[in-house]
């Protein structure tokens, strides 16, 4: 890269800046909005110069939303807690179930294995709305609607196929000889899975887990229909900001900032694995 001239560097910097601004602007704008009152947000023309206020965050954290029509109780912090609990538990369960399954599909071709794997993937094809109505009825009948257990179960529709198919690819990329070598050295198949396959597919599993977490976190329809107020995640809880006295843009903005933070933090932390994991399959050693 020594041949890069100053001009080229400058142009590249400008281009990159433009791209970053283009993509980051909405988030940046929301970030600004979260420190404004509804009045300054709705002011025309909009301005970036305003007196910042923490009232939106205060309202979210205390759970007391003061509007023109009076004071409202909102359960945002509870929703956030629900989101974290539901996503973490769902992904954890999907990993526990999906990783060994992915290994089985990758290593043991049995009669019908492809069909089963494909059926599991096909859960991702169907639009959730299609299954929602029958699912709701079944869940009511089974007594699973409005339970964390039921929600986590439904979330497997999102997480499990994703983890299964991504992780399967990573297991398939591990040379079978490496595993054979460990078996022949005197270790059981389970030890081989634990000591060879799992560590080698580690980055892939981390990447799949992170993606599944993001999908679970962003889920809306399942939670909307199957969960009542005290079990709702933020995606559904945010509807509370559409009040009879108007839409609380300021609170919505700060709610977005708060709800994006865990995924963003996780993505930043796992970025190394994510890049390594998602590119690993492309470069076969």
């Amino acid at each position: 890269m020594e041949t890069t001239s100053t001009l080229e560097k400058t142009l590249r910097l400008i281009a990159l800046t433009l791209v970053v601004i283009f993509f980051m602007f909405p988030i940046f704008w929301i970030f600004l909005m979260s420190f404004q009152t509804n009045e300054t947000i709705l002011a025309i023309p909009p301005s970036v110069i305003f007196t910042p206020t923490l009232s939106n965050y205060a309202a979210l954290i205390t759970g007391k939303l003061t509007t023109a029509a009076g004071t409202l109780d909102i359960a945002f912090m509870r929703n956030l807690g629900n989101s974290i609990f539901l996503s973490v538990t769902s992904v954890a369960l999907a990993l526990v179930l999906g990783v060994p399954a992915a290994y089985a599909f990758a290593r043991h071709k049995f009669k019908g294995s492809e069909d089963i794997a494909f059926t599991l993937l096909s859960f991702r094809f169907a639009p959730p709305l299609l299954v929602l109505l029958p699912l709701t009825q079944y869940f009511q009948w089974l007594g699973l609607s409005d339970t964390y257990f039921g929600l986590i179960w439904v979330y497997q529709l999102i997480c499990l196929p994703l983890i299964l198919w991504i992780v399967r690819g990573y297991f398939e990329d591990i040379s079978a000889d490496v595993e054979y070598a460990y078996r022949i050295a005197g270790h059981s198949w389970f030890a081989t899975f634990r000591k060879i396959a799992l560590p080698l597919a580690g980055p892939g599993i981390a990447a799949a887990g992170l993606l599944a977490f993001i999908f679970a976190w962003n889920n809306f329809v399942f939670a909307l229909v199957l969960a009542s107020a005290d079990k709702q995640p933020v995606t559904v809880g945010a509807l509370a900001f559409v009040t009879s006295s108007g839409i609380q843009y300021g609170q919505i903005a700060s709610a977005i900032v708060l709800s994006v933070t865990p995924t963003l933090a996780l993505a930043l932390y796992a970025q190394r694995y994510l890049v390594e994991g998602l590119s690993l399959g492309a470069v076969k050693g």
Binding site: V178, Y180, A181, R183, I184, A185, G186, S188
Partner: protein, 372 residues
């Protein structure tokens, strides 16, 4: 030390038969080389013995015991893979230690075992490195060390020198027999390199298309190849193979090469008139004077120096190509017309139709091409 017996092994992948009713006996402490072209089924055979795949039919006995129901980890085998198959996330030490950690050995015993075998293979200075940081030669030695570390009674080596450079391969070819002898293990060694096969094998099993075509000592195979194919595989430069029809004369059976009679002493008269292929090792052919008896006129086409020998390609009057090999530094024609002398004593005769050997060379040769 143990014995290995394969009885009527059949292995199929879908409709493709990879091993076809194959039987093989390996004696206690013997080094048996499986030699053959790629796709012959050598690697599959090793994997069957190792227990990572199962045969469709047949029995595998290790130390006289049928191992059909014994999993790979309980067969007491050490194996080195062609692609090394090192554990990329473990240091060389942990790689080599893997057969020892599977036992109840103490930490000290494991460490001692690893260092002992690492020292033997001269990799004790890179034990802390991960495979990524090892050179190809060190990887190969690490893989070999891992196979040896557990002192397995049966060692399976799948072309371990395939992916290393020529210099290292040469070194290891000299070093391996000593190493294997020190282990005292029964060894099955797979290779595609006939020199490796000759250097390492107590016996060589020549495989092709899922069958064993010939099994014997290196000398047996070099001096009495069962058919044309095997004769062609062993020897560098390749054996000269010329179509001939033996005739009968007052001095016994002979063949004609460019109208010059080459007597085949001791040949039964049954072959007379039958289409045959004569096999002449390049080192048994010599340049000679035109006046010498039995001199065959040829034209020198090209000369290739090959380290210790010089190989000359000559054309007979009928345009047939013959390779002549002589020790480097000895005089010989470079171009133009010349004469060669062919020794009927050292000639092989094969049946053209079946490819089978009719008569091996009357004068046995060592593997180096010198008269024994």
């Amino acid at each position: 030390m143990t014995t290995l017996q394969l009885k009527n092994i059949v292995k199929r992948y879908k409709t493709n038969t990879v091993l076809d009713n194959l039987s093989l006996d390996v004696a206690d402490g013997e080094t048996l080389v499986l030699f053959g072209p790629s796709g012959a089924g050598k690697t599959v055979l090793l994997r069957l013995v190792a227990g990572v795949i199962d045969p469709e039919e047949g029995q595998i006995l290790i130390g006289g015991e049928d191992v059909a129901d014994i999993d790979a980890e309980h067969r007491g085998i050490g194996m080195a893979f062609q692609n090394f198959a090192l554990f990329p996330h473990m240091s060389a030490f942990d790689n080599i230690a893997s057969p020892l950690t599977a036992t109840n050995a103490t930490k000290d015993a494991i460490s001692a075992g690893v260092h002992k075998v690492a020292k033997l293979l001269k990799i004790d200075h890179v034990l802390s490195h991960h495979p990524k940081a090892l050179s190809n030669g060190q990887k190969q030695r690490t893989a070999l060390a891992r196979a040896l570390a557990g002192s397995p009674p049966l060692l399976l080596l799948d072309d371990p020198l395939r992916n290393v450079d020529a210099k290292l391969r040469f070194e290891m070819r000299l070093e391996l027999p000593r190493l294997l002898a020190a282990q005292g293990a029964t060894v099955v060694y797979v290779t595609q390199d006939y020199k490796e096969a000759m250097a390492l094998g107590d016996r060589i099993a020549v495989m092709s298309q899922g069958r064993i075509r010939q099994i014997g000592t290196p000398e047996d195979i070099y001096n009495a190849p069962a058919d044309i194919e095997i004769a062609r595989l062993f020897g560098d430069p390749t054996i000269n193979l010329l179509d001939v029809t033996p005739k009968s004369g007052p001095d016994g059976v002979y063949v004609e090469l460019s109208n010059v009679k080459v007597a085949l002493p001791g040949m039964p008269s049954g072959v007379v008139g039958k289409p045959c292929v004569i096999g002449l090792r390049p080192e048994t052919i010599a340049f000679t004077d035109a006046s010498a008896p039995g001199a065959i006129p040829v034209t020198v086409e090209a000369e290739t120096p090959l380290n210790e020998k010089t190989v000359t390609l000559v054309l007979t009057a009928r345009g047939r190509e013959i390779l002549v090999s002589r020790p480097a530094g000895t005089p010989g024609p470079v171009s133009g017309p010349a004469h060669i002398a062919v020794s009927g004593q050292a000639a092989f005769l094969f049946d053209k139709e079946s490819g089978g050997l009719i008569r091996s060379a009357a004068t046995p040769m060592t593997c180096n091409g010198e008269a024994a």
